[in-house]
């Protein structure tokens, strides 16, 4: 089992063969191996090559992109060094690293502020986005009335709304959280609503004939069925939340990575802007990582134990 979950981590391909191996083990045990004996022999071969496939997949998944990043940074360093481009125009990675080291106290407090804002916004977006999906699902009339509006609303550029929000709500935390919610809720709501609507009708019939109430149908089928699509939406929302926080800080903030970037820009410190961008990426990936972890814990069955 641990082997098959490792393979699962390694790659989709590895997972399929790992899973099939498990199914065969199960059959062998219970049906006395009579079912699909021929296949079982093939599976042995598959099991032998499985490790090799998994290694190949791991190389493709981690090593290849890692090498690409390293090459990119090395190329950038070589270009700035050899061309002698001014550091205020395009700093080298080494310049940026030095700037980051020098400014690490300020970076830390600003990152903490942005992280706090992003998480507050994401949290609000999750609550509002999920509640909206559930209401639109449970009240079909409301769903058909509001769904098209929701889709159209996504064509409103959130950034353009920012000045209005400042007029209405001031410069505090609230307008910034609202911006993040506006950016984040949509993928979450749409994915969750889709998942709720697409639960298996055969299972629904079974539950209803077995006496399930509407509430039981929702809790025992629709909600758990919507979890994987919900997490797809949440991954997008998580990524947007950090970018949303930076944009919100550009509206006017006394701290945060967005504010830090604006100050660096006014001082023509491109090296500091690069550092801030790198930190933003790391922050985004961290939030995404937490979501992935949560997904692992919450999504059960369906190929993962």
């Amino acid at each position: 089992m641990s082997e098959s979950s490792q393979t699962h981590e390694a790659a989709g391909r590895g997972r399929v063969s790992g899973k099939r191996g498990l199914v065969t083990d199960v059959r062998r045990e219970v049906d006395g191996g009579r079912e699909e004996t021929a296949k079982t022999q093939r599976e042995v071969g598959v099991a032998e090559t499985r490790r090799g496939v998994a290694t190949g997949a791991a190389v493709r998944r981690w090593l290849a992109p890692g090498a690409a990043v390293v090459l990119l940074i090395a190329g950038w360093q070589a270009f700035t060094t050899l061309s002698g481009t001014d550091a205020w125009l395009l700093p080298s990675p080494a310049d940026a690293l030095a700037a980051g080291r020098e400014d690490r106290a300020a970076l830390l407090t600003n990152t903490a502020a942005t992280a706090k804002l992003a998480l507050a916004g994401l949290g609000a977006a999750v609550v509002i986005g999920l509640a909206l999906a559930v209401v639109l699902h449970l009240v079909p009339l409301l769903g058909s009335a509001l769904y098209p509006l929701l889709v159209v609303s996504q064509n409103i550029p959130t950034v353009a709304l920012a000045p209005l929000l400042v007029v209405w709500l001031g410069f505090g935390m609230l307008p910034k959280v609202v911006v993040i919610v506006l950016v984040c809720f949509f993928p979450l709501t749409v994915a969750t609503l889709d998942g709720l609507r697409r639960s298996d009708p055969v299972i629904a019939d079974y539950l209803l004939m077995s006496g399930a109430s509407r509430g039981q149908l929702f809790r025992k089928l629709e909600l758990p069925a919507a979890l994987p699509p919900m997490f797809s939406g949440l991954k997008i929302a998580a990524t947007y939340s950090v970018v949303g926080a930076i944009i919100a800080e550009w509206m006017g903030a006394d701290q945060g990575l967005g504010k830090y970037m604006i100050v660096a820009k006014s001082a023509f410190r491109a090296d500091k802007i690069f550092v801030a961008i790198a930190v933003t990426v790391v922050l985004s990936l961290t939030v995404l990582g937490v979501v992935l972890l949560l997904e692992r814990v919450m999504v059960k069955g369906r190929g993962r134990a």
Binding site: V26, D205, L207, G211, K220
Partner: protein
């Protein structure tokens, strides 16, 4: 004399212009194993959806244990044509689902679930998820889920149609063994004539759509039955008879799917 487990009379159902059931009369006595055989698309699953209260009939009555059951859900232990297990629940938690819907907390059904899983040869898989099971094992889990419902009447919709012949024979032995022990009332739908004769005491043969009862066949073999019953001359005769019934039935309307 206890009430009949199920009495269906004059049951009609159409979907728009598609007539599916054209006046079905059918009875399952208390503790009786009754099968319905009919061509696919004749409306057998629709009959279950009506008995299970999922659909409203256009005419006719349905009584379960003497009580009107038209449009009433939660009165049967049901095994659908596909296993329809919840993929995010362990085998054990799937098996207790029907009881859970009826209000029995999950933990109170765990012991009995474990016991039945052991007896079904699934003891080692109580904590496994359905996607780790073979087709036959999933069918057994879906069957146990129906069996563990507190309703006396079991409705099984082509439970073994997806299995190969050998696995199917295993399942017949297994099902007969369980049935001999507790003699639940069973309505069993199949399009496999031999399966119907082997398992039941009464077989209803349905026509093509729109379905009527073509014939009600009593199956005289003593219980407990073994699968050697299929070689009995009387068994062979009955099988021939039903096969001929279904074969010579004149085509009417569009061909059944």
């Amino acid at each position: 004399m206890p009430e009949n487990a199920l009495e269906v009379a004059g049951l009609r159902k159409s979907f728009g212009s598609l007539d599916v059931l054209d006046g079905i009369d059918l009875t399952v006595g208390d503790g009786e194993f009754v099968s319905v055989v009919g061509p696919s698309g004749s409306g057998k699953s629709t009959l279950f959806h009506l008995v299970g209260g999922l659909l409203q009939p256009d005419a006719g009555s349905i009584r379960i244990a003497g009580q009107d059951a038209v449009g009433k859900r939660g009165r049967i232990g049901y095994m659908p044509q596909q296993p329809a297990l919840l993929p995010w629940r362990t085998v054990e938690d799937n098996v207790v689902l029907a009881r859970e819907l009826a209000g029995t907390p999950r933990r109170k059904s765990r012991a009995v679930a474990r016991d039945w899983l052991d007896r079904a040869g699934l003891g080692g898989f109580a904590q496994a998820y359905p996607d780790a099971l073979s087709g036959g094992m999933r069918q057994r889990v879906a069957f146990l889920r129906a069996l563990l419902s507190d309703n006396p009447l079991l409705c099984l919709d082509e439970p073994f149609s997806a299995l190969d012949a050998m696995l199917r024979a295993d399942m017949h032995r297994w099902l007969l063994g369980i049935w001999e022990e507790n003699r639940r009332s069973v309505l069993f739908v199949t399009h496999n004539i031999e399966e119907a004769l082997l398992l039941s005491s009464t077989v209803y043969v349905f026509t093509r759509r729109p379905a009527r009862v073509l014939e009600r066949v009593e199956v005289p073999f003593a219980r407990p039955r073994s699968d050697e019953a299929v070689d009995d001359p009387e068994f062979v005769r009955l099988r021939r008879h039903i096969t001929d019934l279904l074969k010579t039935e004149p085509l009417k309307g569009p061909l059944a799917q």
